[in-house]
Amino acid sequence: MPNSLIKLSLTLLLGALALISIDVFAHGVDDNTRAFLEQNQGVQFIPFLYIGAKHMITGYDHLLFLVGVIFFLYRSKEVLLYVTMFTIGHSTTLLFGVLSDIQVNAYLIDAVIGLSVVYKGFDNLGGFKRCFNWQPNTQWAVLIFGLFHGFGLATKLQEFHLPEEGLITNLIAFNIGVELGQFAALVFILIAINAWRKLPSFQRFSTVTNTALMSAGVMLMGYQLTGYIVN
């Protein structure tokens, strides 16, 4: 792997992260999107597609979990399998949650999403094998946490009473957008991790990276649980 390619992909990743960070403090739905959702009438396929994709690309909680999930996956078949499990999980609860109008507290759901990041970081360090001599099935874990990520997406949409007219189509558009956004984000993450994997520093820093992942997850949990308590 030529060094220039690694540098390029890292620069791209950092650039993408810098863009994301602008939206970090406003994760949820921004003002423009809010105005749109409040004005929205009937079927709006492309706008909902866009909102879904944007939500995923700027959704650091979902992205952190994905980084954890694919951190040690290097065969494309495995990446595809795990990402599919995640997709099945979050699509199920996104569609089910909005259509059957299930009300879940957004702070608690987002805290569980934070927990999923902690879980994956701990799992990547081999924590379950070390502590319990047993590792929970990683595919099932991705599926189950995927269900919670989907509820998280659903609560964001439910904050706006979406009109019944065209709801299913809009929802499917949003869901497809989420997958497109996830795909776009994955491309960057995979390029960076795969390039890095070939360097000796990968093994050295994998412990640090997964520790950082756990730490970020704890921060998300603390942030959301405090929100739950004060609101």
Partner: protein, 179 residues
């Protein structure tokens, strides 16, 4: 490829992760997001102003208790500034079948607006719109179909702040600006 680290490393990693997260939460995240600042560092860094900026509008409107905030048969004038590229909501608490007569105009620029009501105690985010349009003035009246908060959402799509002069009379209690 995945390796299991030693128990010592695992414990060290878990403790480090928790400590770093706790420090970040207490000194940066909680002050900036919720104005919870046990160490005072958030205030020194100016982070608590972020959370206060979010609260200030609400505070201003509740502090208006000394002025007359309930409706009467005389027009009351309220000035609302809609920041550039932003949307604001100005609401009134009204009982079911309470009436309001209103007039509002901007200093020239047109605003997108949505006159709507939210039922009392509703947590689903449901609202009912009475008028949606883009205009620089509007006159009319409405009867609240249910008890709750009723009022305007104005969206400023221009790059300059727009002032709205709102005149209302009827049976209401001012709630004021909402985030």
């Amino acid at each position: 490829m995945q390796h299991t680290v030693s128990t010592k490393t695992l414990v060290k990693a878990s403790i480090t992760a928790t400590i770093v997260a706790a420090i970040a939460l207490v000194t940066f995240i909680l002050p900036a997001e919720y104005n919870i600042d046990p160490t005072g560092i958030g205030q020194k860094l100016g982070l608590t102003t972020l959370a206060q900026a979010n609260e200030s509008d609400v505070v201003v409107s509740t502090n208006n208790a000394d002025t007359n905030t309930s409706g009467s048969q005389e027009f009351k004038t309220i000035e609302v500034v809609v920041p550039a590229g932003r949307g604001v909501e100005y609401k009134f608490a009204m009982q079911q079948y309470a009436k309001m007569t209103y007039e509002w105009l901007t200093d020239g620029e047109a605003l997108y607006f949505d006159l709507h009501g939210e039922p009392e105690g509703d947590t689903t985010g449901y609202f009912e719109s009475y008028t949606i349009a883009t205009s620089n003035e509007m006159k009319g009246s409405f009867t609240a179909p249910f008890a709750g908060s009723h009022g305007w959402y104005w969206k400023n799509k221009s790059d300059k702040p727009i002032a709205v002069q709102l005149l209302v009379k009827g049976e209401y209690q001012v709630i004021g600006l909402k985030q």
